[in-house]
């Protein structure tokens, strides 16, 4: 397990390092500390990591810049910041959790549990997701998403309007950020269960979900029973 801390105050970084080490003792994590966005960015483009602990104000620079810069966010991010009013923005950037300073070990533990427990859903009410476009960031409302399809390291967010946007998190990571109504129906598909019109049974024991945008989403055989019970 590879964890990076970006924090400009050494004592706080030391506290994070110490407490993460204690909480994830069994995982034997490698923890790397940077006090500057530039250095961290350089490291993140070269190394693949599992978790980023990010402060939002580093010598007057905005921590979010790092999330904008790092190309494929194959890792999860937990924000540790004094600016609790930034929490909403943070979740829009697809972060896993927001820990406000000053923090206690218990709070940090709760955040890290969400990281380690793959089946957990975001406890927060995530309203929208940040999507990178050629001209900057744009935001997609969660309520507008019909289903999500895996696209190699990215994901396609299919919306009511029949078009889709690319999100730069793999489907496994994204699944952890989404609210409860988003259900994994297939290795490569997540649907908003409230937007399913009907469950169709095709030839050769294949199953499809007809969505509100008239697209059909495959359901894997292993998950059929679960989906059927959810819909009935």
């Amino acid at each position: 397990m590879h964890i990076v801390i970006v924090e400009d105050e050494p004592i706080i970084a030391q506290r994070l390092k110490r407490q993460i080490g204690e909480i994830l003792e069994a995982e034997k994590p490698i923890i790397k500390w940077f006090d500057d966005i530039e250095d961290a960015n350089e490291y993140l483009t070269q190394q693949s990591i599992d978790l980023l602990m990010l402060d939002l104000n580093l010598h007057g620079e905005n921590g979010f810049d790092l999330l904008k810069d790092v190309s494929a966010q194959s890792f999860h991010t937990i924000i540790v910041s004094a600016y609790s009013e930034q929490a909403i923005t943070a979740f829009e950037f697809g972060v896993l959790d927001f820990v406000a300073k000053p923090f206690q070990k218990e709070r940090l533990q709760a955040a890290l549990t969400r990281f380690t427990d793959k089946s957990s859903h975001a406890s927060n009410e995530l309203k929208q997701l940040a999507v990178k476009k050629h001209d900057g960031l744009s935001f997609i409302k969660i309520a507008d998403i019909n289903f999500i399809k895996a696209d190699s390291h990215y994901t396609q967010l299919h919306m009511n309007t029949c078009d889709f946007a690319l999100h730069d998190k793999p489907i496994d990571k994204l699944a952890m950020l989404l609210p409860e109504q988003f259900v994994r129906v297939h290795r490569s598909y997540i649907v908003d269960i409230n937007k399913v019109i009907e469950l169709k049974i095709g030839s050769g024991a294949s199953y499809q979900l007809l969505m509100q945008d008239n697209n059909e989403v495959p359901v894997s055989r292993s998950r059929y029973q679960q989906i059927k019970s959810l819909l009935s």
Binding site: E9, I11, R15, H59, G60, Y83, P102, F103
Partner: protein
């Protein structure tokens, strides 16, 4: 815009003076006959002076305007009534500075004091005499007015002491008086009110010399108008007239001085004593050597205006905000002086003053507004200064530090809390003041530096090089500079913060700090705070420069030296 200003002032002033000057055009419709033609005089004590049958053809002809001081006269004036019916209530009206007994056709009709042959035997009467004459007395044909007249109670040689003698119908006098009285009275009232108003402003609100001087100016000009109109209400003894003229001249002189002093203090012109003594000398010279009282007043007025104009031009060139409006009023006043007839000079002057008073009130209101804004700004600055240490970044990070140390190194936590408390205390006491002693500011900077050293755990150095520490500085401005460095730059071991203070007539503080932020935007809330504080205390007399220099950030602050009171 500027020309409009001048035009509007000019038109308003013209209208107001026109309104005042209206009384000139009173039509004398009824009856008027000027007496004095063919008068003959004898300086002898003629017992038969009033005898109708006396043959005075040997007596010299006499022009009444030549009546002089310290003399006794017997004057015989033939009066020809050409109209068949002179209106009823026709009166004889006589105004001159002398005592006299009046006889009509040899018959005694009235006395104005008691004429005599010397100072002791002469008794002073009123300046003006009005005697009603009956229809019989004013019958068509030849009549004779004879006067025993003496002028011993004068205190100085006047050039003219005879003002006129007329037969007139009464109504003219009444109509004439009403219009002439009411407007000057209103003006005088307004002036006294303004005098009280500005005196109250001075004593209760703001002890600025310009206010009390303006109060005096209003009082003097009110008194001037009062002295001018007193003649309509009080038929004073003729020997008081000269005293009155002297008081008027004194008043004119005081008014002129007050006007100039007002502008000197209002614009805070240097070398006031020189200006004032020069003006006073000129005024005294004019008062002593001008030929007549009218010319004395006029010349003093004009000189006072010229000097005021000069001061206003100086102020205008220094861009004093309200100099333009005052300048407009004065220039308009000058133009009016040329346009209006000479005799309205006193009213014109009063009108001019009312406009200066208006301009003054206007700038006072502007000042009130500014002060209100300033007071609000001070509150804002105070709040801003206190809030800075309550910023989440500062406060929450510090608290995180404390939490960490409480768990790991409690003693360090205690020290850190102490340092934070010290900084808060200093900020709190300093925030309410506009200027604080340098030593307080220095202590604040050192405390903040100490806290940042705890937080960043770096070997960094703060050097303060100052020769004299007895000056005042707006609170927390150097503190803000240091704070900005920490929040915008990555601090590394061995970094040095240099503060160099040099002091001569003004203060120059040079702050050299580390600079590692390539995309620094420059101005921020911190810089605004510093500039607002400097403006609050030094108006425009300060400079603030902040720029990257080589690998450092250099901040230069200059402001006037204000010594710390002992």
């Amino acid at each position: 815009m500027k020309i409009y200003n001048l035009l509007i002032t000019f038109v308003l002033l013209l209208l107001s003076t026109r309104a005042i000057a209206q009384d000139t055009n009173v039509q004398e419709k009824k009856y008027l006959q000027i007496l004095g033609e063919g008068a003959r005089v004898s300086h002898e004590l003629a017992a038969n002076c009033h005898d109708v049958n006396l043959d005075d053809s040997e007596w010299p002809q006499f022009n009444l305007s030549q009546i002089a001081e310290y003399k006794h006269y017997c004057i015989r004036i033939p009066v020809t009534i050409s109209q068949e019916h002179v209106p009823r209530y026709t009166i004889l009206r006589a105004i001159f500075l002398g005592s006299a007994k009046f006889y009509w056709d040899g018959k005694y009709i009235a006395a104005k004091g008691k004429p005599g042959l010397d100072l002791d035997s002469e008794q002073v009467g009123p300046i003006e005499l009005t005697v009603p004459l009956s229809a019989t007395e004013l019958s068509q044909g030849q009549h004779l007015l004879t006067l025993a007249l003496s002028t011993y109670h004068h205190i100085e040689d006047m050039h003219a002491i005879y003002y006129g003698m007329i037969l007139t119908s009464k109504n003219i006098k009444q109509g004439f008086n009403f219009q002439q009285k009411i407007i000057p009275l209103m003006l005088a009232g307004a002036m006294f009110l303004l005098a009280v108003f500005f005196a109250l402003i001075y004593f209760l609100y703001d002890r600025r010399p310009a206010f009390i001087i303006f109060s005096c100016l209003c009082f003097f000009s009110g008194a001037l108008i009062g002295l001018e109109v007193i003649k309509y209400f009080w038929n004073y003894p003729w020997d008081f007239h000269i005293l009155r003229l002297r008081i008027i001249i004194l008043n004119v002189l005081l008014t002129g001085m007050a006007l100039i002093a007002y502008y000197l203090f209002y614009y805070q012109i240097k070398r006031k004593v020189i200006w004032l003594s020069f003006t006073l000398l000129c005024f005294i010279a004019l008062a002593l050597f001008s030929p007549s009282y009218d010319i004395k007043s006029l010349s003093i007025f004009v000189l006072a205006l010229v000097i005021s104009l000069l001061i206003n031009v100086l102020a205008y060139r220094k861009n004093h905000p309200s100099s333009l409006i005052h300048l407009s009023i004065l220039i308009a006043g000058f133009l009016l002086m040329v346009i209006l007839p000479f005799s309205f000079i006193d009213k014109w002057f009063a009108a001019l003053f009312s406009f200066i008073a208006l301009a003054n009130l206007y700038s006072l209101m502007i000042q009130f507004g500014n002060e209100k804004t300033k007071a609000m700004q001070s509150l804002r600055l105070e709040a801003q200064m206190l809030r800075r240490n309550l910023q989440p970044h500062f406060l929450m990070n510090s608290l995180t530090l404390i939490v960490e140390w409480v768990e790991t190194e409690p003693k360090l936590a205690v020290k850190f809390i102490d340092a934070l408390a010290d900084e808060f205390r200093l900020l709190n006491t300093m925030s309410e003041q506009k200027l604080v002693p340098w030593l307080d500011e220095r202590a604040l900077c050192q405390k903040h530096f100490e806290i940042m050293q705890y937080r960043y755990q770096k070997q960094i150095q703060l050097n303060i090089d100052v020769s004299q520490s007895d000056f005042l500085i707006p609170p927390a401005i150097i503190h803000t500079v240091i704070e900005n460095v920490f929040s915008h730059n990555r601090i590394k071991n061995g970094d040095i913060f240099d503060i160099h203070v040099s002091q001569n007539d003004s203060m120059h503080i040079k702050i050299t700090t580390p600079f590692r932020n390539k995309n620094h935007k420059g101005t921020g809330i911190g810089e605004d705070y510093i500039k607002t504080r400097l403006t609050e205390s030094f108006n425009t007399h300060w400079s603030f420069e902040s720029a990257a220099k080589n690998d450092t950030w250099q901040t230069d602050i200059k402001f006037p030296l204000i010594k710390k009171p002992r």
